[in-house]
Each structure stands twice: as structure tokens, then as C-alpha cells.
């Protein structure tokens, strides 16, 4: 019964296609896919909201398609990759957390490329920037969830760092740096970002 009424309400909402959020006494459940709706029939891009309405003895559970405001249009809508659509190709860095946070999960991992629609080079660049941002401590709320009652064996030294290319445990100390013509340099940043726009006079040094 409830399923049939839900399907009917979904069909009516598609016919109208514009449904604002109704009323203030409505109990709203955010985005729960109760069952798999046939995707061929539903072509809208809106986010669905499950809305429960109590009218005396009857309860109507409706899946309303919210009309979310489209937001600002990208300056280059024909491009395939979101970064190219917004013309941000060589302009972002590990510090642009607002941009990077759109491509990560809540535990800090990157979302798959087939979902985000990034081209492979940009996906790699975003991955490196996200790694550097994590190591710099710029994404404090996107840490992986540790199991309950987990106590770390030794307290890790809290050191500030930035532009870290390699993972902390994988790097060995350079005991012999060598002579000037064959010096073992330390890696800073990532070569993937070497094409970034440089507004200053000094170029970006990757080997310190």
C-alpha cells in the first residue's frame, strides 16, 4: 500500500517537476533510498527527499524531488572534467581546501574517478594535493575512524609540515648528502604540480 502510494506520488511529481518543500510540520528524512526505483523512467538530476506526512490516520510517505537552485554556471560548460569546466586547470594547490574537500569522503579518502568525472591527470593532481593537505593537517575532520578503545602504542611527535611528498614512515634519513655535483636533494611538493601558474619571479623548486 505504502509502496503504491509512493510510486504514484513520484509519477505526479515528475509530471509537475516543480515541487517546493511543503509545510513546516512535515517530518523529513534525508535521502533514504527505500527501494530501487526504475532509473530509465526517472531522468531528473535532483536529489530526492523522503517526506513523511501525518494526516489523521493516514501516513503518506512521499519521495519529493527537491528543486535545488542550480548555482553559478561554470564558465566552460562543454568540457568533460569539472576542473576544466571551471577553468581551474593549473591554479590550485594543496592549500585550496574548499576545492579539495569536494572530492573526498568523510574519512579522507578520494572518491572514484568514474563518479567525480575528473580526467586522469587532474585526478592524480587532486590525489597528491589531498595527500599533502592531510599531512599538513589542513583537513582535521576527515580522519579515518579508529576502532573503539584504540590506544596508540607510542605518542607520535606532533610536528608541523607542509608540501610533504612521501609518507612519513616510508622515508629514510639522508646520511651522506654527497658533493655539490651529485648532491642527494630532498623532495618538496610534487612534480605533477610543476605546470601551475607562478605569479612571482622565483620558479617552483621541487628539490631542496
Amino acid at each position: 500500500m505504502a509502496a503504491r502510494s509512493m510510486l504514484r506520488s513520484v509519477w505526479t511529481s515528475i509530471a509537475g517537476l516543480k515541487l517546493g518543500v511543503t509545510g513546516t510540520n512535515v517530518k523529513v528524512q534525508q535521502r533514504i533510498n527505500v527501494f530501487q526505483l526504475p532509473t530509465l523512467t526517472i531522468q531528473s538530476r535532483g536529489i530526492r527527499q523522503v517526506v513523511e506526512k501525518q494526516e489523521g490516520k493516514t501516513t503518506t510517505i512521499e519521495g519529493e524531488i527537491l528543486n535545488i537552485a542550480a548555482g553559478p554556471q561554470p564558465p566552460n560548460p562543454t568540457a568533460k572534467c569539472p576542473i576544466y569546466r571551471w577553468n581551474l586547470q593549473h591554479k590550485y594547490n594543496y592549500t585550496d581546501v574548499l576545492l579539495l574537500s569536494q572530492f573526498i569522503r568523510s574519512d579522507g579518502g578520494l572518491l572514484p574517478r568514474r563518479i567525480t568525472g575528473l580526467c586522469p591527470e587532474e585526478h592524480r593532481k587532486i590525489a597528491m594535493c589531498v595527500q599533502m593537505a592531510h599531512r599538513a593537517g589542513l583537513l582535521p575532520d576527515h580522519k579515518p575512524k579508529l576502532p573503539e578503545g584504540h590506544v596508540p602504542k607510542r605518542p607520535k611527535p606532533q610536528l608541523n609540515r607542509y608540501l610533504t611528498r612521501w609518507s612519513i614512515d616510508s622515508v629514510k634519513p639522508i646520511y651522506k648528502t654527497g658533493l655539490k655535483w651529485c648532491k642527494k636533494r630532498m623532495a618538496v611538493g610534487h612534480p605533477v604540480l610543476k605546470d601551475n601558474v607562478c605569479y612571482g619571479v622565483k620558479p617552483l623548486y621541487t628539490k631542496h
Binding site: T39, L98, S101, L139
Partner: protein, 179 residues
């Protein structure tokens, strides 16, 4: 200043000032160049190597220094005690744990000219691992220098309005269970 009297102008030119540098989340190399320039007196037009025109520099928060790249693990500080088998090599992390002032001190020492004035200039450098300064030094401070590196903002430091003002670059497909 042209409005100063002769004695006041003389005093303003030749007095030794005290600079303050906050090294929080700053690279120690850049801090050290700023210190070395001011300890030698090279920031003054009246500079001469023999005229002892260097100023005092106070560096605070050296415990919170930030190295770029993987230098905490890769950079090695070597020393020899003079005795056989006394060659010691310590990584930057280990040295920082043992003494939080050492990294900045060694960096400045290496940037000063290799002459007998170097030791006097090092005596005029005051390094503190924390915010706490003794009162007599705090009373002497004249100027605070701007930090060389711009500190990036964490995601938690952005207000919700700024996060909302940033446009969504891509829309997720409807049937994808986000995060």
C-alpha cells in the same frame, strides 16, 4: 626623520634595536635568513663589517617550526665529539625532540659570516621554544617582523558562509551513496 634634533637623529641611527620573530608554522631556513640579516646589521644603510651595527633578534615558538617536504625525516645533523668513534648523526626529528631551539640556532649559525664576529652575533640571538619571554627581554622589544610564510587555513577555520559560497564543481549521481 628630519624633525628630530641632532642628538635624537644620532641615537635613532646608531641604537641597537630588538626584533621579534614568531616562528610558528614557519620554515626555519627563512626565519634564519631574516635573523642573520639583522644580526649582521645588513638591513641598515650605515652597515660596515667592522662597525658592530648588528641588532638583537628574539625568536619565539621554535617548538612549532614547520619543515617543507620530508625534511623532518630526511635532514640529518652531524657532529663529531673529537674522540674516535664519536661521529654522531641525528635526524631533524630526534634533534628537535632533544632540544627544540637547536634547529633554528644551527641554521642561523650556518648563515652568519665565518669570522670572529659570529660568536658575538649568536650571543645577540635569543631563541625561545614557547611564547614565554623573560620580562627584561619583553621590555626591550621594539619591532615585530612579519612572518615569511603565509599560514594556510584549515578546513575547520572556514566559516559556513564561505564554504557555501564556493560553487559545487560536480553533481553526484542520484544512486550513489555519498561518503
Amino acid at each position: 626623520m628630519s624633525s628630530f634634533s641632532r642628538s635624537a637623529q644620532q641615537w635613532a641611527t646608531f641604537a641597537r634595536s630588538w626584533f621579534l620573530i614568531d616562528a610558528r608554522v614557519q620554515p626555519p631556513g627563512k626565519i634564519a635568513t631574516m635573523c642573520a640579516v639583522r644580526l649582521q646589521g645588513k638591513h641598515k644603510p650605515i652597515y660596515h663589517a667592522l662597525s658592530d651595527c648588528g641588532d638583537h633578534v628574539v625568536v619565539i615558538n621554535t617548538k612549532h617550526i614547520a619543515f617543507s617536504g620530508n625534511k623532518w625525516e630526511q635532514k640529518v645533523y652531524s657532529s663529531h665529539t673529537g674522540y674516535p668513534g664519536g661521529f654522531k648523526q641525528v635526524t631533524a626529528t630526534q634533534l628537535h625532540q632533544k632540544d627544540p631551539k637547536a634547529i633554528v640556532k644551527l641554521a642561523v649559525y650556518g648563515m652568519l659570516p665565518r669570522n670572529l664576529h659570529r660568536r658575538t652575533m649568536m650571543q645577540r640571538l635569543h631563541i625561545f621554544p614557547d611564547d614565554e619571554l623573560p620580562d627584561d627581554i619583553r621590555a626591550n622589544l621594539t619591532e615585530e617582523l612579519p612572518q615569511p610564510r603565509e599560514i594556510p587555513r584549515k578546513l575547520s577555520e572556514y566559516t559556513q558562509e564561505e564554504i557555501d559560497a564556493f560553487p559545487r564543481l560536480w553533481t553526484p549521481p542520484e544512486d550513489y551513496k555519498m561518503k
